[in-house]
Symmetry: D2
Subunit: 346 residues, 4 copies
């Protein structure tokens, strides 16, 4: 049994870890920390999970918690996982960070976009970017996982098959992404106020969203060259789900059948990628609650572009499900363990 | 392995049976019928279930289907399960009908409310009303289950603890119930049109909803006397969930602690009933996707009433989940098999 | 031109006053106060109103503001209008308070339910409860209006025709009310967080909501005797709208035609009450953005009850529209001025 | 008084014409036709408009209707306005067609994209494309208006300032557009079923939507050269609103201040265009129910692109409001008449 501790268990990604781990046959939660709710039974904070965990939220005692577990998940705002990583490193355990602290390889880029000092830059070289479909082998041997951001997950899974084969004009990439509100976390704000967001649709952080350097860094790795992309996030009046609509100019035009074959081939055998047949398009609800990424690709002969659509559940494949997938890989158990239940629709 | 056939598999309750059965360890779907989609792979109709079943929708050949299975689920509009029941009876299999055809013990009452002739009235006496928490022993030996309506499930679970102890003024019962739109099924209509229902709230069928006689019949059985209730359904701009707000005048006032104890005692040991502690109230989202019924009870000393709140997922505990629970009981396997995953929140 | 000042203009009821007054031909806004946004153009806080007012949010200087206007609207949380009233009284202007400070005639009842000391109890006797359809004559001569709560508006308009004719068993009244989220105001909280409320339905404050004494006080006035009611508010995943479902036992049963005639007769000539014809039921969206109250009444011969349904827009007839209606009456102008635009549907 | 007839009055754009015209001081509705609801009072079909029109839905008698009016609005699916136009032409009245039949100047392009024969190709040369901000002078003298599609309205208003100054790489234009569900009309279908669309987000008709040739034709006119664009529509789980996110490569990079000035300059004096100040972004809810188009423009120095965001209410500026704006221009009355009420928010 893998012993698990979750730091920041009462945010949405924390709660989603608890939901998914409660059905995991080879992992056992032993500590859930929460600053706000310490002392309360976890299920009183999230009544849907009554009977799935009897743990109480506890205050964080870092060293003590690490010693009780095999793996720590940090589900914290950026800036808070660095000191955890130092301690986990010292004590020889595994850390899967759902935040941004170890995603950018260059501490200066991190500091520029996140406006926080990076206090563990020497660990950056040991961190592995945890997108299993692109990076499974490195994950196997990692002790420190930078779990990808939700938008970057969708963007990379949409683009990897084309970039890996060098089919894309590198300056042509546009990622128009749309997310449900749970992506903003459980913290209250005017943006997440029901009456401000319901029956409303808008873009935000146009050209300046913090996931931009992460997307460019990882796409660059796939493409083997520097990448510069336009990335625009939007807020959808729904709770869960991301749809990324990705536009690329093809170096040499491919028709729909060719693109379809490229995608099916690239993701052959992947448990969590479903390339839809031609004529079907991804929709966020078809992956809700699950770790799937549904992909569709459309050739546009009129413009010479390909349009790729990727749908994920931002809290699962975009966060907690992917984190558990990483854990499974690291600990050598079945990659799908704890993640096999179907999406819930309608 | 229990072999399962679903007649009417591409409506919402049918699809929900497929979702839940796909994870059931002791049941195997062998036939899914659909008039509209025959010949199509089921997952093309419901892409969220891709990789969970490879069955194709088939045309209904009743006798042949029955012979291939141990149990038939009928997920059809009322009026269509009667001939299925006759055939299942003849061939000695089990039928769980998610429709209304066998819920009312008196064929004339059925015909009065549903405006359809009952063509198998002789089977009514063999049908067992499949609300396991109230009726588990009879279910064990049944071959024909009338799976309860969604509203009646919520109403009965809210009222049973009080009625069973004869605490309620019988003419005082008011059931104000609110349902998500999936309760209306997948058939298109102006009522289920997004733009007509979103940002809208309304009552419908006030005083004349067809679940009324079912509620009264079953409450009457619990109370041991005829019951007459006010029942008002409402349509909520959400997809899943029912909340029933039930008002009763108490014969002799009980305070909150007493009512709490009565509910906890009554549902002691029930796997799918969660009586919330005093101070917490049920919400539909805390049971979404699951077979739970969350219950809360409030004493109102100002009026001498008790207010009971019951939340279920109308497609699970209100339909397909309960149907599987009935199957599990009949076939003598663990009652929670296939129904153990937690609700999805937020 | 009536000169208007709004204290607390950047909450939802404040903004709705600005929206409605911007089209009012005989009123002119001259001061909008906001603690949070002082110094900002109002339209930067509410961009939908760009070009409808050029006023900037200003800090509150009470005496100065009062001297510049004919009428003050207070759109503040309870507890804050009392000192405003004292000052308005002193300076001989008109105050329309959208909060609760002057709704309850008995200061002790106010203090018991609102847990705040009433610092202007001597003004309570001068306050007029501003529900024009029930109380128009007193409003005409008032300088201090207690603008009704949203739930009490719906409840009273639903019950008045029956209570006024003494048709109701007094202890039988149950008000099951459902509100959109904007009723909770613009303040952020977990309750109004999109992800907590979307696809969710729940009751809150069962038996203890602060509108209860207001409802009972005013129903009591109509009925000419003390009233005790069950009142349960619910939160609907939508932004605007209240539907109240009201149950009463009739002293002597009336059929549908009789009830219909009673309602049509009672509200004969009312500009903002639309009694729907038999067979149609109110829905919140049909009044959205408008000052209407749509009413429907159903006789239930099976139970001897009448069920009355009332739909309003909680921010308009339930707050700001009604406040303007009161202003119009006081200043002797057309009661519908500024309130004549149709609801927006779908 | 302009006498108005609406053919197809009970679809959403028809009903929106009725809503807006009910407050128009110089127009009077005299005939509303509906195949489905003939003989019924219009307000029984749309109860929100009770007291705003007493007209009954009538069967269409084309010649008779035209003779009774000054202007006909056709709010019909494509393919049905052509014969109306012939008759209106013959009788010398004005026709404003909210459908697609006269938008494409080339009948063959129409037939290719709409799969319907064009039966009045000789009238195409007389039709004026009714986007007032770009085409006001021709509209003044028109008798036949092709009222723009909803997506093309947003796309053109977003792009016109840049194209008119030849700032855009012509092959670089990508229009990623998102629409509420009312854009699909009131006809029931699985796509508009609440449970299929709520909590869901998806693209549709990628690369093949019928608004594509309309967008390209009109952008081409502004740019003075052929245009080829990528256009992807998406369905948002909300009722009203379109947001278009438009990406262009600038021939020569302009910074945010320059772009801002270009937009403000271009739309100087326009009543229905609100260019938001730098730092604010359009949102659909800020224009809901109104004829505004809110615009925001962002320079992205990293990629050399500009991102333009346009928000409209698809039923108002995207259909019925714009149609009335066209009518006002043709009949020489104030362009804003009937369209002056503010958006409704929240």
């Amino acid at each position: 049994m893998i012993k698990v501790g979750i730091i920041g268990a009462t945010g949405y990604t924390g709660a989603e870890l608890v939901r998914l781990l409660s059905g995991h046959k080879e992992a056992q939660m032993v500590g859930l920390t929460s600053r706000t709710y310490k002392g309360e039974p976890f299920w009183k904070v999230y009544p849907h999970l009554r009977r799935y965990t009897s743990l109480e939220c506890e205050e964080l005692h870092l060293a003590g918690l690490i010693d009780r577990v095999d793996v720590i998940f940090t589900a914290l705002p950026h800036g808070h996982a660095m000191e955890v990583a130092v301690e986990v490193s010292r004590r020889g355990k595994v850390l899967i960070d759902l935040g941004a602290d170890f995603r950018l390889r260059d501490a200066r880029v991190y500091e520029e976009w996140y406006r926080v000092e990076h206090t563990a830059p020497d660990l950056l070289g040991q961190a592995v970017y945890g997108l299993p479909e692109l990076n499974r082998n490195e994950i196997k041997n990692a002790w420190l996982i930078a779990n990808p951001g939700c938008y970057p997950t969708a963007a990379q899974l949409a683009l990897a098959p084309l970039l890996a084969r060098d089919l894309v004009e590198p300056d042509s990439v546009i990622i128009d992404a749309k997310s449900g509100v749970s992506g903003a976390g459980r913290k209250t704000s005017l943006t997440t106020h029901y009456a401000e967001t319901n029956e409303n649709f808008r873009a935000y952080n146009v050209g300046i969203h913090r996931h931009t350097p992460e997307i460019e860094q990882e796409l660059g790795r796939i493409a083997g060259r520097d990448m510069r992309v336009s990335f625009t996030p939007h807020l959808v009046p729904m709770t869960r789900g991301i749809l990324a609509t990705v536009y690329v100019k093809l170096k040499k035009f491919k028709d729909g059948d060719e693109l379809q074959a490229i995608f099916e081939d690239y993701y052959q055998g992947e448990s969590f990628i479903r390339v839809l047949p031609a004529g079907m398009l991804p929709q966020t609800k078809a992956v809700a609650g699950s770790n799937y990424c549904d992909l569709g690709v459309v050739a546009d002969p009129r413009t010479g572009r390909a349009v790729v659509l990727a749908a994920i559940d931002n809290l699962v494949k975009g966060a907690s499900g992917q984190a558990i997938q990483n854990m499974n890989i690291i600990f050598g158990i079945k990659e799908t363990e704890g993640l096999e239940h179907p999406p819930v629709y309608p």
